[in-house]
Amino acid sequence: MADTAGVATTVERHPALRRPRNGTLVRACVVAALFLFTLFALPQLLSLYFVDAMTQVAVYSMVALGLGVLVGRVGMVSLGQVAVLAIGAWVAARILFATTLPYPVVLLAAGAITMVLGTLIGLPALRMRGLYLALITLMLAGAITVGLTTVNFPNGGHGFLGYNGSSVHIPPIRRPSIASSDPAYFRYCVVVAALMFVLAYAHIATRPGRAWAAIRQSESAALAAGINITLYKLWAFALASFITGVAGGALAGAVRYLYSIGFPTQDSITLLAVVLMGGAYSLWGAIVAALLLQLLPALLNNWGVSADWLTILFGIGVLQVLTTAPRGLADQVPRDLARLGRLIREQLRRAAAARGGAQ
């Protein structure tokens, strides 16, 4: 994915120039206004059907954010994020059924446990990069999905797994007491998602973000600059898994009944496609990706159009993004750099020759 990072790279390369001073205030105002609008006005304006859809958007914006951190910041592609989401949802559901702990604690616990497990999934990243890393995360996701299909999601049963196969009456997963209605739970999810975005931004704008950018551009150069590659790669996986785990917890309360069929391995592939379409290199991209992934199907369903058209659109979108995106400079393999240099030299020579001919 490294070489699609062109736009972000040129910006990231000069941390001092990253954000023009006069734009910062405007941007902060826009973000604040949008956040307040989403929090207060949106649930009033929308029907319950779309409030539910927007709750999913809030949840999946966190999932897309987690993948965006890995792909856009560090240049590591994971094809297993939906499996990580499933882990988060499983852990949260288990804790919610077993205890009466307050919801924020449950979300944090789900995030923390998922962080540990998700970082294990990220361990291969220390040894491999690019294609092989993507494919091994796909394999691990496949394994996790098969495992979860077999153990099932907790439904109020007893024992460690909390699954009661013969249960006729399945209790719904509880919601926070302050947010039991759908619009209230939507607001709750928006706040949680906003906190996750702040957390991600706090990482990106500070030391880890700079280390990730260096690793993305060249691991050798980052190593030479004294950056602990092992630490920062695992850190990225830990952050992404934490965010995704919290998203899983929010998802458990949103849908209230969880089934392993809801987390197929192929969804991780679709997720990557949509995140790339939305733009993996900015935080806004995560929101765009979530809207594409969750709001569009709801809209199409409302209009009676098959969601398959959306799948086709995503396919075309991925091809379009990958073929027309500018050739990146980030973490680029030496041959591509050499080729680019050749191209520039060629152009310069030609320009010089043209000038020479004109005189």
């Binding site: 291969p124 394999m139 391995t265 799948t311 091809l319 073929t323």
Partner: protein, 297 residues
């Protein structure tokens, strides 16, 4: 623990499944070596071909025509993709090339779900005439489709191996696997060789789609994403050796099916390809596989 007799039938089905995995794996490895593309749409084109064959059989056309169209369709779509998207992505990271084929997968998957909808709970099946005839080895019933599965797997591995070793086109493919630009400089017709590799991969996708539709299920989702399991064998061989791909595929098929009679593990048997691939990748990656020069190639 079940007795030996319980395992016997699963050796046959395991070998057959392994054979088809080998067929898919070899197709993926050959294309990857020639073009650097991990063709994730391998399952989708095969699935769509199989669905077309099913529709043609339902319309009363002879079965062999449907199978032929299935293979031709897979080949045509694959070659068309290779010609349109191969060159613009040729210089990009292998990961970008692989993700681009996800685009094709999603398009095909959407079209399949539109045309052959599964929401009504309608189930389809392809039965090859070889399903109902067979023979006995000792006490094990073997049908000809299973024999074909294993035989095609072996045949494809041997033929592809010989092709890469002894023909001019095969040598050109191996040269391109090492360095596309140097091959081009030396006069290898790069695009034509790539087109040939796409064609071969497409034909194998069609054949694999038909066999898997018969042996596993004729279902767009299952067949499309079965490529993830097939990919496991290719990954164990590090996307390089076709002999190793074949061996890995047979092992995956055998382990998968031999777990069936063991009750404690039976429901986990679908995990086999993933675990084997993950372990193999993890162990094998100890050597400097991520060095810049290797990634560059």
């Amino acid at each position: 623990m079940p007795s030996w007799v319980d395992f016997q039938p699963f050796i046959v089905t395991g070998l057959a499944l392994g054979g088809v995995y080998a067929l898919s794996g070899v197709g993926l490895v050959v294309l990857y070596r020639a073009t650097g593309v991990v063709y994730l749409a391998f399952g989708a084109v095969g699935a769509m071909g199989a669905l077309i064959a099913w529709s043609m059989a339902n319309a009363g056309l002879p079965g062999w025509l449907g199978w032929l169209v299935c293979v031709l369709f897979s080949a045509a779509v694959t070659v068309a993709y290779g010609i349109v998207f191969g060159p613009p992505l040729a210089g990009r990271d292998p990961l970008v090339k692989a993700v681009a084929t996800i685009g094709l997968t999603l398009i095909l998957f959407g079209v399949m779900d539109l045309l052959w909808t599964t929401s009504g709970g309608e189930s389809r099946s392809i039965t090859l005439p070889t399903d109902n005839s067979g023979f006995m080895i000792g006490q094990i019933q073997v049908n000809w489709t299973q024999v074909i599965g294993l035989a095609v797997g072996i045949a494809i591995t041997v033929v592809t191996g010989a092709f890469l070793r002894y023909t001019k086109l095969g040598t050109a493919m191996r040269a391109m696997a090492n360095d596309r630009e140097i091959s081009a400089t030396l006069g290898v017709p790069v695009r034509r060789v790539e087109a040939a590799a796409w064609l071969g991969c497409g034909v194998l996708a069609g054949v694999a789609g038909l066999l898997l539709a018969d042996m596993v299920a004729l279902d767009a989702t299952t067949l499309t994403f079965l490529v993830i399991s097939s990919l496991a064998a290719a990954l164990i061989a590090r996307l390089r050796s076709i002999t190793l791909t074949f061996a890995a595929a047979i092992v995956i098929g055998l382990v998968h099916d031999l777990l069936t009679p063991i009750l404690a593990l039976s429901s986990y048997r679908d995990i086999t390809p993933f675990v084997l691939a993950a372990v193999a990748l993890f162990v094998l990656s100890r050597h400097r596989v991520t060095s810049p020069s290797r990634e560059d190639a």
